[in-house]
Amino acid sequence: MKGLLFQSLSKKNRLLILGVGLILVAVYVIPIWSISISAPQYPEGLGMHIWISKITGATPYDLKNINLLNHYIGMQEIVSESIPELLFMPYVLGYLIFGALITGLYPKVGMAILGIINLIIVGIVGLADFWRWEYNYGHNLNPDAPIIVEGMAYQPPLLGCKEMLNITACSYPSYGGIILGLSLIVLVYILWDEKQRKKSNVV
């Protein structure tokens, strides 16, 4: 095992890791996650994108209109400024990219494993945090709201679609999220590949 940790990465895998670092840069400029809302009165739908550092509407007006809809049920206004995680998320991403660059200079299998662990932690913590925000938005409603439906909460799904009153809300990873997922897959592949390589070296 120890041998594997300090085994130098093949040239191909080293390039792959650098590639992961490079493609992760794109996550700064594309959304990670998207929530879309459809209802009969919104035939064109409404959408919300979660980026590494902000929350926006799918069109310049969607976030405002989602908030206008939400104000009936007393949901607090969704604004990027109220989510402090968005302030340090860019640094976390920077750390991941930095890790990939370091691995390029110090190409050991252990670094790839560290990358896998980092990505899994970021993923789990990120999703848990996202769920917590969804829970808070959906449950902590203004008791003075104009529309109160007994026992109704408006927490959107973490992944997939859910019907709330006459609205269907769907939540899926966006391009940025897909890139993060792909990065993890690439790293796992590298680990597997290196393991195979070690085996064949031994044999």
Binding site: Y61, N65, Y72, P146
Partner: protein
């Protein structure tokens, strides 16, 4: 004959009599294609293929229909106030109806014209004339709102208007009622002595902004100029005006103006006219007029202007020619190739067609001139004639073209549309109209490339096509499918006001360009309030400005204090940025202001003078949300 046979005969007679009208009715409705209903049916959620813009006649408005369903989409107020949305009442739009005669909140609008690029409809603007108080309007097809109104001086009855040149370089406007120019109190019988004059006005359209301005006026003999259409392709430089009362009768025109066998179509070379103006042949002439312009989401600006450049035909040879045309022509229509100029002699028994190339060939040859009127050569009828459609119908009025070599002429007296072939002048089909028909319109039918497919014939007098609704029966238009060899009646539908003329445009040219809202960040209205935090009340002496916001489902500020006699301006900004969420604004018992409909991101101002002490509610009038009914507040007025 005994009594019994008598009885049988009488019974038979009654049966026969009752069958005859039924047969007649049966024959008439037989022209309705059996599947007509399915051909005009547009399923829920589906969209129509064509936009139809109809003038509203004495309503002063323009209405927008979908074709083939004939569903009414919208009424666009142009020359008439519109209490539904405050047009002509609020501080933003009341200046749109300013004229040199003061505030004129109504007009009589006849002709719709579509803007064109290279002779093809471009879906940018619609233009509409005001006949009563001579004006021209430009309607923007992004917002479907009236953006500009230009008064035309030195004219009375702006009827032959607003017809566009091939590239919308100019709109033409000509006098219906010749009058003393400049205006003066003269004996009415001086009309018959040539004391009255007409004018042809060239209104320039800025090709980027659409802004209107008067380029030039031409002083023409005092006839009544009725309609116009401009040339295309080879006849690009020319516009053609029909005229009646070349007799210059001044009383009992019914008889006096119908004496001569021929009146005229005036051929006007506008390129030559501009050339003469540039050579300094036009002189400074008086005439006051007003230009009203409303920029996107800003109050209208009304500008008073004076003076025009006037040109006399004798100072500009080669600019104008009269083509004799039988009798009292109404329509003067140029076919899609630009070669044929079709006259619609409302009292004539033929449809005369002039040839543009023949006109060019003979116009300056003396042997083809019969006389000259005020410096305008009169060409011989036969010299320019391409042909005549013989015995087409009674009372031919107006012609449009399908681009396949066929022309369609409306006939007022015999109530029908006649389809005939250009070149052979043969009538190929009679289409009955169930009322006295005026204008007709084919999709793109006055452009160089008609889309064809649909034709609507618009009524002048409608009788019993619909459920009776009192003495004034529904005005109406009839829809025909002209896509196959034989035109077929599809449906008829009631219209707003008397629909004089229409322009139909394929939906794809317009639908994707329409605006959905005013972006708040671009709102440059001087009284805009862009966030609720900026809502405020500013008192300036006895005038108070309320910078108010409206959003689902409340106004801010929501409690207003005022004193009797105080003038309050409610500058209401709709903070919504959602498609189709206007908010309304109305105050209980406001005598001078109707209602406001404020589009998302728009600012409009409701002026209110505080009446006697009391508490007055104000509220949103356009159902905006589940809490719309709660969108209401109060103004307290103290002594």
């Amino acid at each position: 004959m005994n009594k019994k046979t008598n009885l049988i005969l009488i019974t038979l007679g009654i049966v026969v009599l009752s069958i005859i009208p039924n047969c007649k009715k049966g024959a008439a409705t037989a022209t309705l294609a059996s599947d007509a209903a399915s051909r005009v049916y547009v399923a829920p959620g589906e969209k129509d293929e064509v936009y139809a813009f109809l003038s509203g006649g004495f309503s002063g408005q323009m209405s927008v229909y979908g074709i083939p369903s004939a569903r009414l989409f919208k009424i666009i107020p142009v020359f008439s106030v519109f209490p539904e949305n405050g047009y002509g009442f609020d501080e933003e739009t009341k200046d749109m109806l300013k004229t040199t005669h003061g505030y004129v909140p109504w007009d009589d609008s006849h002709h719709v014209e579509a803007s064109m690029t290279d002779g093809k409809q471009d879906g940018r603007w619609m233009f509409l004339n005001a006949n009563n108080t001579p004006r021209l309007a430009r309607i923007d097809l992004k917002s479907f709102e009236t953006k500009e109104i230009l008064e035309i001086p030195n004219t009375a009855g702006n009827h032959a208007s607003p017809f566009a040149t091939e590239n919308t370089e100019y709109l033409m406007a000509a006098t219906r009622f010749s009058v003393p120019v400049p205006q003066a109190s003269v004996p009415i019988d001086s009309f018959s002595k040539g004391g009255f004059k007409g004018t042809v006005t060239m209104v320039k359209v800025d090709k980027n902004t659409g802004r209107l301005s008067i380029e030039l006026q031409v002083l023409v003999p005092g006839f009544d100029y009725d309609l116009s259409h401009c040339g295309k392709k080879k006849s690009h430089d020319w516009c053609f005006f029909s005229s009646y009362n070349s007799e210059q009768a001044h009383k009992m025109l019914e008889v006096g103006a119908s004496k001569k066998d021929k009146d005229f179509i005036l051929a006007f070379n506008w390129v030559r006219a501009k050339e003469c103006k540039d050579q300094g042949k036009a002189y400074n002439f008086g005439g006051e007029y007003v230009n009203n312009f409303r920029e996107e989401n800003k109050p209208a600006v009304s500008t008073k202007l004076s003076g025009v450049k006037m040109l006399n035909p004798k100072d500009c040879p080669g600019m104008m020619y009269y083509m004799p045309t039988p009798k009292s022509p109404h329509g003067t229509d140029v076919d899609s190739t630009g070669e044929y100029i079709v006259g619609g002699g409302k009292l004539a028994s033929v449809i005369p067609v002039h040839s543009f190339s023949k006109m060019i060939e003979v116009k300056d040859k003396k042997e083809h001139h019969s006389t000259e009127i005020d410096g305008i050569p009169v060409l011989k009828y036969e010299s320019t004639l391409a042909g005549e459609v013989q015995k087409p119908c009674l009372g031919p009025l107006h012609t449009e073209f399908d681009g396949q070599g066929y022309a369609y002429t409306s006939c007022f007296v015999s109530s029908e549309v006649v389809k005939w072939k250009l070149g052979t002048w043969e009538v190929v089909q009679h289409l009955p109209a169930y009322y006295s028909v005026g204008h007709l319109s084919i999709v793109g039918g006055s452009s160089t490339e008609p889309y064809g497919k649909y034709l609507i014939a618009m009524n002048k007098i409608t009788k019993d096509r619909f459920l009776p609704v009192g003495m004034e029966l529904p005005q109406s238009a009839q829809l025909y499918d002209i896509s196959s060899g034989k035109a077929e009646l599809l449906s008829d539908f009631p219209t707003v006001g008397e629909p004089h003329y229409s322009q139909m445009i394929p939906a794809k040219l317009i639908m994707d360009k329409t605006a959905k809202l005013y972006p708040l960040e671009e709102n440059k209205h001087p009284y805009a309030t862009k966030t609720e935090n900026e809502a405020k009340i500013v008192k300036l002496g006895s005038t108070t400005h309320i910078y108010m916001t409206a959003i689902r489902s409340h106004f801010k500020p929501d409690i207003i204090e005022a004193r009797t006699g105080e003038t309050l301006y409610f500058h209401v900004t709709n903070l919504e940025q959602d498609y189709d969420i206007p908010h309304g604004f109305a105050i209980g018992g406001a005598p001078n202001m109707t209602n406001l409909l404020i589009m998302p991101g728009e600012t409009r101002t409701f002026k209110w003078v505080a009446p006697k002490p009391g508490v007055y509610p104000f509220y949103c009038t356009d159902f905006c949300s589940a809490l719309h009914q709660e969108m209401q507040q109060y103004i307290r007025v103290s002594p």
